[in-house]
């Protein structure tokens, strides 16, 4: 036990103490942030770079132009004249200082059509802004023209948005709001984390095994401990490295989240004036809020517990496979013959998981979440949708049972493999060593 602890500590320190580990741990989230931030920054640069657009408005009705308020983005100038030719002349005379001309035709009340002219492109943002503003104003004007008292209020009261909530009955007859989008997102995230982590750290274990062989240190070490202890120590040590890395990332995420959340909250308060822009933003906020509500409505405790269990099971299964296979080669360059099949199985698991997102209770999802080589990834997709207890139990038993079997087989390969130099071992030899 004491020796195992020593081996784990050495393995852990040998990776965590490396400069490359620290750099990678800090750079990887930064990379994600950069990739995520690029579109936002580009959009911001776009907004920032453009001047206020000058928009001329020809209002043939004479009633609606006032509804278009100027702001930072657009400056609306009402102009006289009532024909297309006037507009064209006006545009040409302005010689580029006018970006677009809006014509509100006199029959807009019946047709509901408004035209925007420009020689350049008309941005969707301008079109939708004009559409939104005029639709409201014209509708209100219609209602007012009908001369029925309180009609406007009656209409807004009669207006009903139908919102579909998906509810889930639990065993006690209670109900619980569930959300398909959030569940899918969460499932994908968890399965992707499992897939990435197992591959990354599996490769790390294999390199560590091969390194000890090429260093020729391995025989010195196994004259002091059992090969099984060395292999297990490596698997646990590298696993702890992974958990450390995850913990650092979670802390970083929390810090960034709190800082960003704080900053966002403050700007939100500052611009909460009644400008239409702020109103639009508020409706965006409503969407964000409802997503947040969906995300919060998920019952996390069983998901986290099961995620950790599957994660450990999957990690043990694949990392011992990698350790066993790594012991059979002398150089990292020789390892692909053995790793390709393993990586292929992982890939199949990952794509099976994606396919199962469409129908998380279908036969394919159920089968793939039972097979130990795919279950750590596929079950993550199913978890947020709720999985029957017996299926979870059976799948976990299968996973851990298989993991123990693989560890045992890998240990048998390992104790032969680490002392095998020279000729590259074949799969046939590996099977012999298992006996």
């Amino acid at each position: 036990m004491n020796k195992l602890r020593l081996i784990i500590a050495r393995e852990y320190m040998s990776i965590v103490g490396r400069k490359s580990f620290i750099i990678m741990t800090l750079l990887l989230p930064l990379l994600f942030v950069v990739i995520g931030a690029v579109p936002v920054v580009l959009a911001w640069l776009n907004d920032k770079g453009s001047d206020t657009q000058q928009i001329a408005v020809i209002d043939e009705t004479g009633r609606y132009a006032a509804a278009l308020h100027s702001d930072d983005m657009y400056s609306f100038v009402a102009m006289q004249g009532d024909t297309m030719t006037d507009a064209r002349q006006f545009y040409d005379k302005a010689n580029g200082s006018i970006d677009a001309v809006i014509i509100i035709p006199s029959n807009v009340d019946s047709t509901g059509v408004v035209n925007i002219y420009s020689e350049g492109t008309i941005t969707p943002a301008l079109a939708s802004m004009v559409k939104r503003t005029l639709a409201d104003t014209i509708q209100n004007a219609h209602l007012a023209s009908m001369g029925i008292p309180n009609l406007q209020q009656m209409v807004s009261e009669a207006h009903i948005d139908v919102d579909v909530r998906s509810l889930k009955w639990d065993e006690n007859g209670g109900e619980q709001e569930s959300s398909t989008d959030a569940a899918m997102g969460l499932g994908f995230l968890l399965s992707f984390i499992t897939y990435m982590f197992v591959l990354m750290y599996g490769a790390m274990i294999m390199n560590s095994v091969i390194e000890e062989k090429t260093n020729r240190i391995v025989e010195v070490v196994v004259s002091s401990c059992r090969p099984f202890q060395l292999m297990l120590g490596k698997i646990i040590g590298v696993g702890l490295v992974g958990l450390t890395q995850m913990a650092i990332w979670i802390i970083l995420l929390a810090v960034v989240g709190i800082v960003a959340g704080g900053a966002l909250g403050l700007t939100q308060l500052g611009t909460n004036a009644v400008s239409p822009e702020a109103m639009a933003q508020a409706s965006d906020m409503g969407v964000v809020q409802s997503i947040m509500q969906q995300v919060l409505s998920i019952n996390y405790l069983p998901i986290i517990v099961n995620f950790v269990l599957y994660f450990i099971g999957g990690y043990l299964l694949y990392s011992s496979l990698f350790a066993g296979l790594g012991s059979a080669v002398d150089q990292p360059s020789d390892s692909s013959q053995f790793t390709t099949p393993v990586i292929l199985i992982m890939l199949i698991a990952f794509y099976a998981g994606i396919a199962c997102m469409e129908n998380p209770t279908g036969p394919m999802a159920v089968w793939c979440s039972m097979i130990p080589f795919t279950s750590p990834v596929v079950m993550m997709i199913r978890l947020p949708f709720g999985v029957p207890g017996w299926q979870l139990a059976l799948s976990l038993v299968l996973l851990f049972g298989t993991a123990l079997l693989i560890i045992w087989l890998a240990a048998r390969i390992y104790r032969r493999g680490i002392l095998h130099y020279g000729q590259k071992a074949s799969f046939k030899e590996l099977f012999k060593w298992m006996k």
């Binding site: 020593l6 050495r10 010195v220 070490v221 196994v222 002091s224 090969p227 130099y421 012999k432």
Partner: protein, 305 residues
């Protein structure tokens, strides 16, 4: 009673037999040579003693008791295929190896300092192994083998990779360890070092013991009754007593005579002394190298018949 007692050990691999009934007794406080050509089974036997491999049959007794896993803390093993973690610091590395053998941290650190001092490596304690020269790495390797002061030391080709100066220092250290009571099992191809340090040897060939005993006895057994005679005269053959052999290419001035069967050294020398001006003579004993080659060749010839 032998300190290390190996009885009738058998080890089969899938295709071949690596050890076929090997027995060997190593007395406490001696240096024992385990010899044999490549593939004879030396490394397998050493790995069995180190409990890296398990024997199919036979027993290994240490100090009269069946060996268990706990006994590996009593062994220091320097394998032929050896190396170090390149990225670890020298001091940490030695302490790690010591603690794996069951030392406490404080003991391992103290012992590490003592040995680094002895090998003039003190200022390298906090340097990474990869920054050391090959010779220095070999010394660190040696320290890692002996740091826990094991009563049984096993060296597999200890001198390979050492330059003559360092090899000499290593030899002095090994002899010092023996004088302090350690028992040393020594596996090598280097016959000169066997003659210098080993008291007893076992020669393995094709998984079997073909020769065993003390170095002196074996030499006596294999002597060919050859005498190197120093004389200014030229000696003629005397078919009753001896025949003249072609001279040794290195010591050309000596005349080599081979005694006829049954002739005593004293009789031949007396006769020579009467007939020639004799200035000196020495009995020529075969080198371990010659015995090794001769034995292995004759056994291989036997096997081929």
């Amino acid at each position: 009673m032998a300190y290390l007692d190996i009885n009738n050990v058998v080890k089969h691999y899938e295709e071949h037999t690596a050890l076929d009934g090997v027995s060997m007794q190593v007395e406490q406080g001696t240096i024992y040579g385990l010899l044999g050509p490549n593939g004879a089974g030396k490394s397998t036997l050493i790995r069995i003693i180190n409990r890296i491999l398990a024997a199919d049959e036979g027993t290994v007794l240490l100090n009269g008791k069946q060996m268990t896993d706990a006994d590996i803390s009593h062994i220091g093993y320097l394998p032929e295929e050896r190396g170090l973690y390149k990225k670890m610091k020298v001091g940490d590395h030695i302490v790690y190896l010591g603690r794996l053998k069951g030392m406490t941290k404080a003991d391992a650190v103290a012992s590490m300092h003592w040995w680094l001092d002895r090998f003039d490596l003190k200022e390298w304690e906090n340097k990474k192994v990869e920054n050391l020269s090959k010779g220095m790495q070999q010394k660190v390797q040696f320290i890692g083998t002996v740091i826990h002061r094991p009563p049984l030391l096993i060296f597999d080709e200890p001198f390979s990779g050492f330059d003559p100066v360092n090899a000499e220092q290593l030899k002095v250290e090994i002899l010092a360890l023996r004088d302090q009571g350690s028992t040393i099992l020594f596996s090598t191809h280097n016959m000169a070092s066997v003659e210098e340090v080993c008291q007893q040897i076992t020669l393995l060939n094709h998984a079997k013991v073909v020769l065993t005993g003390s170095v002196d006895e074996i030499k006596q057994q294999h002597k060919k009754n050859i005498i190197a005679v120093q004389t200014p005269d030229s000696i003629e053959s005397n078919s009753d007593l001896f025949t003249i052999l072609p001279p040794d290419p290195v010591k050309k001035q000596d005349t080599l005579i081979k005694l006829a069967p049954g002739v005593k050294v004293r009789d031949a020398i007396n006769w020579l002394n009467e007939h020639y001006r004799l200035t000196g003579f020495t009995e020529v004993l075969p080198s371990m190298n010659e015995i090794f080659i001769e034995t292995v060749k004759s056994k291989n010839a036997e096997n081929n018949e």
